[in-house]
Amino acid sequence: MADTFFGFDADIPGEDDLGLSAEAELEEDFDRLNEDTFGSGAVDDGDWESNHKKLAELEELRKKDGGSQAIPFSHDAMGQVRGQGLGVAEDMERSINQMMLDDEFDDPAIMSIRKGPLSPDRYNTASPPALLQAETLISPGRQSIWSSPSRSALMGNKVTILQRPTEPTEPRSLPMEVGIPSTFQDSAIVSAVPRKSSPPLLPSSARTLEDIERDLRGSGSRAIPSPPLGRAISPGGVSFASPQSNHHPRGGLSMHPIGTPPRNTHMPPGMPMQGPGGMPLQRPLHSPHTLPPGPHPPPPGPHPPPGFHSARPGMSTPPPQHPLPRGHPTPPMRPPFPRTPLRPGMVGPMGFSPHMMRGGERMSPHMMRGGDRVGSPGPGPGPGLMPFMPRSPFQHSRMPPPPHQGPPGGSPMNDTALLHPYHRQILQQREQQFRQRQQRGGHHPGGRGMPGPGPHGNRNWREPPGFHGGDEYAGLMTQREKEWVVKIQMLQLQSSNPMMEDYYYQLAGCQDVFWTPYTKKTMKSDKLQSSNPMMEDYYYQAYMSKKMAQEAERPPAQGTSGEGDGPGSSPPKLITPQLKQEHRTYKPAHFEHTLGRVSVSSVNNPRKLIDFAAHAEEDHDMKSGIGKDHRRRELLLLIEKTYSVMLELEDIEKKVMSVSEEERRSLLEARIGMVHQIYNNFGLTADGSNDDQFLHWMCIKKGKSLVGRVLPILPRDNAATVVTCMLRNLAILIRKDTQDEVLPHLSSSVSHVIRNSHLDHLTSFLQAIIQGNDGANLTAAVQNKFGMSVLCSLLTRAETLFNTDVDTPMEEEALWGDLVGQVCKELLSVPESNLASPVKPPTGITNHVSRFVDKQTSSALEQRLRSLHGV
């Protein structure tokens, strides 16, 4: 955001309370409207207008100054800095005194502080009590606050430097180390908060940078007050606090007593957070001078020490626009100025560079690498940290707030657990790659041939190499804005009915959810057998084979490298990020004094597609009265309707796996109703008097395949009725099927029904074939693949029944035997070349047949069947 461009002069007055509150109300209105249009989060806090105004003023000021004051670093200044040693400290301190932290408003600690002892003037920020509180807050005893290094690491520093070029500083005051505990940082917060310049007093317990440095070095030398200087002058000092030396920031924190207070330093509002205990230590550890000249090895694990990342922003390059006072120790890497002693990546001595005002964007490569790639993937404040980042109403209404402040819940993407397992895997891989790259890069400083290769030669991938130093416009998009965009896009992925809306994604990436071996098994046993394994299991099988291939490729170590949540190790959860889904009712926007309705669409109320339901009705009316055509259309519509019921039903079957017992019961009830409805749509009666509609149905390709899908889920009796009807009209169906050739696909469904039937049903099936259509059925059946398949499964099933069921009534057996005899006769009478082969080779048919016919016939039949399969 624009406001991140400049440091703000202290003498820009804050908005007075009255005007602001009135304005705030108005703005809230706008915000609400905007939120409607762009979705929540879009307008969270961007008070761009006021920001812009201030910016404009600033710009004016800068121009007036002729730039001399405003230019942060002249060559001259740098020379001085380097040459003078002690003298520079003053310059530095002056500038540092003008630094200001920016996100205090995000920090509950600060919020609470403000409520109490602070003066009503909200822009007048830090006060001693606040500092003390902050100190206790970040004292070693409360380390839990810092205990989420991985997350904090991902966040940039948002620091604003408040400039008061004209303000005299006391010579005695020492440079303050200013920083924000990483935990509190929200990289995206980059608001320029104008503050009134009433210099708050530092508490006596506050430590200066110098103190810390002294402590760290164990020497009282004041000659090297500024870190960059320290670096330039005594390289030996470099390593003392570097991450490599395993000097844990926290360790340092607890070790050192509180130093002497600097007097009359202007504490920025953020000060409370950089209480003597916490902040200063973190900061120096990572300020540039602590960085060894050599390449940085990556932190050992995915979770580097908290300070490690948080300090990184200090090393990023500053944008030149920051009007810094002369002699500011932070040398911005502007092209016009020689950057001799400093590496492009290293900016401020304090880890404070003007550009930090821009928020995380300006993170140095290290920071990015450390946080982004190496650290755990959690970006924003972790769930654990959320309580620390609330937005207070006060902040909302009064402060020119940071643009796009995230929802209190933190960023939506910070928890990998919410991600699709498949994607989590990808993310892990990505991380690993980053880590590897970092390692590689660490050994080759300046890899990629960037200008000015320094210790940070392997530059962040996010920053265009070669532009690192000169690209003053980098970071126009703040972290928060980026997160906002990501959030919106993730929001779009959210679905209440993923199986419906995102079918292929679910199937390809999330097989595990619905197709774990367990559910698979239960589903199978549920139906005894999949009705159409080829169709149903296609994706599953394709996916599984793919997955297996992948796993075979991957080295075993990698597969388990996650936190134990590698693929397969735990039942995957649902997929899309769990964002709060808002359900709003759409109220069409109404503008006064307008005619008609203005079409307004927004994120929450997208423009409606054409309403085709109305059309369907129209069609209906128009068609009525046109006889045959009309009936056919009605049938088609009926099939469509039945299909949607069918799909719904299948959805229910999937849902059943994942819901509670009670829901399951109601779902199952609904399922029964649907099955019934589907069956009714066939228009069949048990006595076979009303086959017409079903026959018409079976003349339509889609209807046929629907029957194939429905058969396995129908109750046994209903299924038997359907099959009987089909078999009774087999000849017609076969004739009508010559073009479509769908019937063979139905054979597996029909076989399924047959396999579940008892002898009485089998008998009626066979009777239907033999007696229906004046005997034409049987002739047609043996010459048709579907017919043969049905016959074979009938005989196979009968054999199974005869083998197990001993007590079959004699009459039934006799009837059955008679029917089988007829089938045999037909089989033998049809020319061999005309016999169709069944879909599956029959088993045990001849055994069965030999029960009822003489040996000669059965052997002849056996021969025929064998030759059939030999073909």
Binding site: D471, Y473, V486
Partner: protein
């Protein structure tokens, strides 16, 4: 930073502040620094140049800030800054490249006309080439 979005989703975020080459739907080629994006992949390019290639020659027309509506982006990719200047192409002035482009387009039109004519002679109805869009 946010790494946790799904692959493919919002990965444009990672291109921010990089130097990108963007090809637009009308065939124009832009090179600039990606400064900002939104969920529609609308882009803000900074220090943009429009690069025109004709044969082995190319020319750059400075365009400044370029706001691209996302739907117009055909492809975009990061410029390899190391090898950016090692193109096997010859840079020419704007005027030259514009002239070259013009002649190229004329030649193309001629060719197209000839093709249409030849097809007509053979009794074929020339199909409008789908690649060209009117802007």
């Amino acid at each position: 930073m946010t790494m946790n979005y799904m692959p493919g989703t919002a990965s444009l975020i990672e291109e921010i502040d990089k130097k990108l080459l963007v090809v637009l739907r009308d065939g124009r080629t832009l090179i600039g620094f990606l400064r900002s994006i939104d969920q529609f992949a609308n882009l803000v390019l900074h220090k943009t140049i429009e690069r025109i290639h004709v044969g082995k020659q190319y020319g750059d027309i400075p365009r400044g800030i370029f706001v691209v509506r996302g739907e117009n982006v055909v492809l975009l990719g990061e410029i390899d800054l190391d090898n950016e200047n090692k193109l096997p192409l010859q840079q020419v002035s704007i005027d030259e490249i514009l002239e070259a482009q013009r002649t190229e387009q004329l030649a193309k039109q001629e060719e197209e006309k000839a093709k249409v004519k030849a097809m007509r002679e053979r009794g074929l109805q020339p199909q409008p080439s789908g690649m060209q869009e009117e802007f």
